[in-house]
């Protein structure tokens, strides 16, 4: 059990050491990477353990908030994902950030992130989850804004933080509601409290619990960037690319799914299925998957395409959780983490090689220039579009099966997404890697160094094999092994058919093109959702509220209370100043007068 505590606090200690002592030396990156290696080793050692341990963090009468660790297949499997990808991203960053001036700050933030993410995964109660939930928000903010000298990066960091805060507010309300319902905060004790509540209030049980679950889902909407709070994730691509791979593709954004599944696990699958909330969750996920996939087809920034694809895949996972097939969602989370990290890191290598060029229309022909990266990207691409026998295929199959079984409309939505995904990924690959160089930067690109290629190759292997039962049953956070490796049926036909249609249309439309033959402003402008937020919500609600608050702050707090106090003290002092006339005779006169009064009272007073 002590190992788990070390696993949790090692990255924090490293982050503190980096920040306080080693900032000026070149040791910080190496130390952070060593810590990532250490946590990965610890995670492997803890794999499959089933234990809990906790200490009281704050006690108030009978009530106490614990900091605790819960080890089970779900958390230890998730730790493999977090630390494994974390380690590879650290190694990749060593090369990617080599010339960055603030790499000590970068690696410190990475270590802080590893600590926060570990906390979410290992938490044994909701308060602890919430604390670390906020901490990942903070480290994500720090890392998105790493190049804060750029306005766009600073704005993106702010946007991410605010969107997350909106979701987190709901999350907090949900936690408090759940606490009110069950009387417990710990995952293990919650179920008994739930049964007691159901026995006591059968009439309102399901609606109250639904409300609580929806509030908690708000947290997942923010963190996993579901509609309508998805706007921060594409902007978060302003951060360094390894960060996008680790935080905004593989781990942090998946935390919402992880937390929802943990909630499902805690409440019990039957209880969860009976709630209205599950339908809402499933539809939110499905619609996010569709909308994000549509938006991805018209983006020109290589990282933004991948970001929208992440949104879309997260939609899949959330949908699976909403359909009470959380294990399918978690399985997809597991496979997606590897191949999406691979895609992001490969795109990072491409961006690095092309001197920070991110527009795919200015790349082209990169497969010849950097064959290994091109090949690893192809592997991730294959897994993402669910080519049979890659990891993405197995997990997507499970989600489609679940949708097919529970809700036919969602199944067809998912099928459309399964057409769109190969389409936009083919577009990306054809435009960026095939054809001929379309810019100076692209023609000077050459293969990146071994420190970057190593993680790419490892991830490429994992991206292919992670879906096979011999890997998944051991490492995946939750996995329901199918009877047959590939179960040929209606769902498989639809999935493979969708894949074929998507890839073929993608090829036909984009092969050999110099610029985008399709132009759909609605999709380019992301359904005008960002514009709507900026011009309507921000302008009319946020700015109005801000001016009211500014007025209150300026006039009531500052004018009336703070300045008012000092002004009244000053005017009182001014009155008393008059007494100090500085005139000797004045004093003597007052003194004499005083004596007279005293004498008067002594003689005539009685």
């Amino acid at each position: 059990m002590n190992l788990a505590w070390i696993l949790l606090f090692l990255p924090l200690a490293i982050a503190a050491a980096n920040q306080l002592i080693l900032k000026k030396t070149g040791l910080a990156p190496l130390l952070s990477t060593a810590s990532a290696l250490g946590t990965f080793a610890l995670a492997v050692m803890l794999l499959g353990k089933n234990e809990t341990s906790h200490f009281a963090w704050a006690t108030l009468g009978d009530f106490s908030i614990n900091i605790g660790i819960k080890l089970d297949q779900l958390s230890t499997g998730m730790m493999i994902v977090v630390t494994g990808i974390g380690l590879l991203v650290h190694v990749f960053s060593l090369a990617y950030m080599k010339e960055d001036e603030a790499k000590a700050r970068y690696f410190t933030s990475l270590s802080l992130f590893m600590f926060s993410m570990t906390g979410i995964v290992l938490a044994d109660n909701f308060i602890m989850t919430f604390i670390f939930w906020e901490l990942v928000g903070l480290s994500s903010f720090l890392l998105i804004g790493h190049w804060y000298q750029k306005d766009s990066a600073a704005d993106a960091a702010k946007k991410a933080f605010l969107c997350n805060r909106i979701g987190d507010f709901g999350f907090m309300v949900g936690i408090l509601m759940l606490w009110g319902i069950t009387g417990h905060l710990g995952f293990d004790q919650m179920k008994s409290g739930l049964a007691a509540f159901q026995a006591a209030n059968p009439a309102i049980f399901s609606s109250v619990l639904s409300a609580a679950v929806l509030c908690i889902f708000c947290g997942a909407i923010g963190k996993s960037a579901q509609l309508p709070l998805h706007v921060w994730l594409p902007d978060a691509m302003e951060g360094p690319t390894p960060v996008s791979a680790l935080i905004h593709a593989a781990t942090m954004v998946a935390a919402g799914v992880y937390m929802l599944f943990r909630l499902q696990f805690t409440l019990g699958f039957e209880a969860f299925e009976a709630l209205q909330a599950s339908t809402v969750i499933a539809w939110t996920g499905g619609i996010t998957a569709l909308v994000a996939a549509l938006m991805a087809t018209q983006q020109n920034d290589i990282k933004r395409v991948l970001a929208y694809s992440t949104l879309s895949q997260l939609g899949y996972m959330v949908m699976a959780v909403g359909l009470v097939h959380g294990e399918a969602g978690m399985f997809h989370l597991f496979t997606h983490a590897w191949f999406k990290a691979l895609l992001f890191l490969s795109s990072g290598a491409v961006i690095y090689a092309c001197h920070h060029e991110q527009d795919i229309w200015k790349m082209g022909g990169l497969l010849k220039k950097m064959p290994i990266t091109g090949f690893t990207f192809l592997t991730g691409f294959a897994a993402l579009i669910a080519v049979p026998y890659t990891s993405g295929f197995f997990s997507k199959e499970q989600i489609l099966e679940a949708a097919h079984e529970k809700e036919p409309i969602l199944f067809w939505i998912a099928a459309v997404v399964a057409v769109l995904t190969p389409f936009y990924m083919t577009r990306l690959y054809v435009v960026a890697f095939l054809g001929k160089n379309r810019s100076e930067n692209a023609s000077h690109a050459h293969e990146v160094g071994p420190l970057m290629l190593g993680p790419l190759v490892i991830l490429a292997v994992l991206g292919v094999i992670a879906g096979f039962p011999f890997v998944a049953s051991k490492f995946a956070p939750a996995y329901l092994q199918p009877e047959h490796l590939v179960h040929l049926g209606f769902v498989t036909y639809v999935s493979v058919g969708a894949l074929a249609i998507g890839v073929l249309t993608g090829f036909m439309v984009y092969a050999g093109k110099e610029k985008d033959p399709i132009s759909i402003p609605l999709l380019q402008n992301r359904f005008y959702i960002d514009g709507f937020y900026d011009n309507f919500i921000v302008r009319y609600f946020q700015d109005t509220l801000a001016s009211i608050i500014a007025f209150f702050d300026e006039w009531v707090i500052n004018g009336l209370i703070v300045d008012g106090l000092s002004r009244s003290a000053e005017s009182l002092g001014n009155r008393f100043r008059l007494v100090q006339s500085g005139s000797l005779q004045g004093y003597a006169f007052v003194f004499g007068l005083g004596v007279l009064i005293v004498v008067y009272f002594i003689v005539f007073g009685r």
Binding site: V579, Q580, G582, S583, Q585, A588, F589, G592
Partner: protein, 106 residues
Amino acid sequence: MASLNDYLLVSGLLFAIGLAGVVVRRNIIVVFMCLELMLSAANLTLVAFSRFHPAANGLPDYNGQMLVFFVITVAAAEVAVGLAIIVALYRARQTIHTDDLTSLKG
């Protein structure tokens, strides 16, 4: 023969003149002299009471007269110190006019 009231009247007048001088006059030496006048008024009162309130054996109450000696002694010392202060003040400020001494004005 003058009665106690006559003495007290004179003493009160002296005291009032002294106080008026202290309050009204601007020259610090005159103020100082007026202070001495007030002390003398008090001394006169003490002697008058001593004379007109004899002890049980018919002799005057000498406590009052003893106190006058003390007052005179202390007043002498006080004059010495006070004049020294005035001299020092004059050296520092080249004035003994109270209106000009306003550095403690708030």
